[in-house]
Amino acid sequence: MKQKRGLQISFAWLFAIIVGAIILFLAIYTSIQIIETEETALDAQTAKEISILLNPLETGFETGTSNSVIVPTETRIYNRCSNEGFFGRQIIKVSQQNFGEWTETDIDIGFENKYIFSGNFEEGKKFFLFSKPFEFPFKVADLIYLTSSEKKYCFIEPPESISDEISNLNQENLILENCLINSIRVCFNSGNNCDVEVSYNGKYLDKNNERMYFYSDSLMYAAVFSDKEVYECQLERIMQKAEQLSKLYVDKSNLIAGEGCSTNLIQDLNEISSLEGSFSDSVDLDGYMINLAENIESKNKVINCRLW
């Protein structure tokens, strides 16, 4: 009898332990899944919000003004870019630190109409943003520069225009004098311990033993703040957009010709459009292409019916 009672108790306990363990396992598993989903959703939401907050920077009104985005936790903003389609895609991915570990998300937030220049990823709680228009020869896009407050850029002996612009921006991670020890040194007249060497007249700069070519100040800033991979990809996207805009101006030129507004720019616009279409690297930004763009600009300035 005693033995039977013992068996009865142990069966009840065994049953309770097995089912209890299953319940606990399911509860823990579900909680983990919910937390992971929430983290992914939060990352995706933050990425989308950052992208949408960039809209005012593209109006051209915000040029020369620095804005900041502050996030509650340590965040990494990954800058990805693709050249597929007519305009390519700006992709933003956000990862946030949770209990000392970076969340992993596969959700990419993409936009066709934004051009963000930064490192492969920027890390911190505070991010600075400013924008500048890129004209080639007409306005193509507003370029957005994203930097983390943790990265300090020290500009050494920049030309007066750059120096004035930086001091007007009043962005706390862009320094003109008294470089900090850990700051990224951007030299304009080849100094010592330079992380970035800018040849302002040669229109190129060297960074991490790699050369990036630029045209105008807006692309110079882009090259300073970006990794080569991001810079080249975004520049190709900008040229993709410039190609479509050149075609748009050719169509506009044909349309207004019917109103007695003839322009002599169609041939030049077709030529620059085909150069922009075959653009694959900043090396392609050569003297011929730049001269063609400048020539188109000077022709447009003197005609009666200006195209832009």
């Binding site: 989308k48 109409n113 349309l255 109103e259």
Partner: protein
Amino acid sequence: MKQKKAQMKIQQMAFMLLAVTLFFVFVGLFIFMIAYSGLKDSASTLEEKNALLLVTKLANSPEFSCGGSFGNEKTNCIDADKVMALKTNSNKYSNFWGVDSIEIRKIYPVAYGVRVECTLTNYPQCDIIKILDNGISSEFSNFVSLCRKENIEGKVHDKCEIAKITVSYGGDNE
């Protein structure tokens, strides 16, 4: 008797455990539903925010803006000739701005009693330029000046009219 009592106890415990499991399942479903509806809400809020900010900047974007074509650079000025050229290439721009519809509607003066949609054949004797047209659910609009070149008695003039640019989103979701 004792065996029956023990069996009852096991059954009681089994039912109790089943009830506890069901309780956790329902709580889990409830949390998931709340989280999912919140996610949907925040997605539509973000879409709305995008459309709202977009409408304020669109008139000044390179595809729409007058630039220096009509004298000095103007803000909130749309080049109608350029937009008509854009309309013919609108398939390329279908995902460019991340909205479903973009429409420019002339407000004053209205050419005819009836609103006429612009095509290359009737332009500029028309009132509405539809650049993207993928259904409308919620929309935001902004007042702009709509300028074009016009030939009057052999002379080319700049003609600007008052118009409204409307951006809509979420048409496909409805």
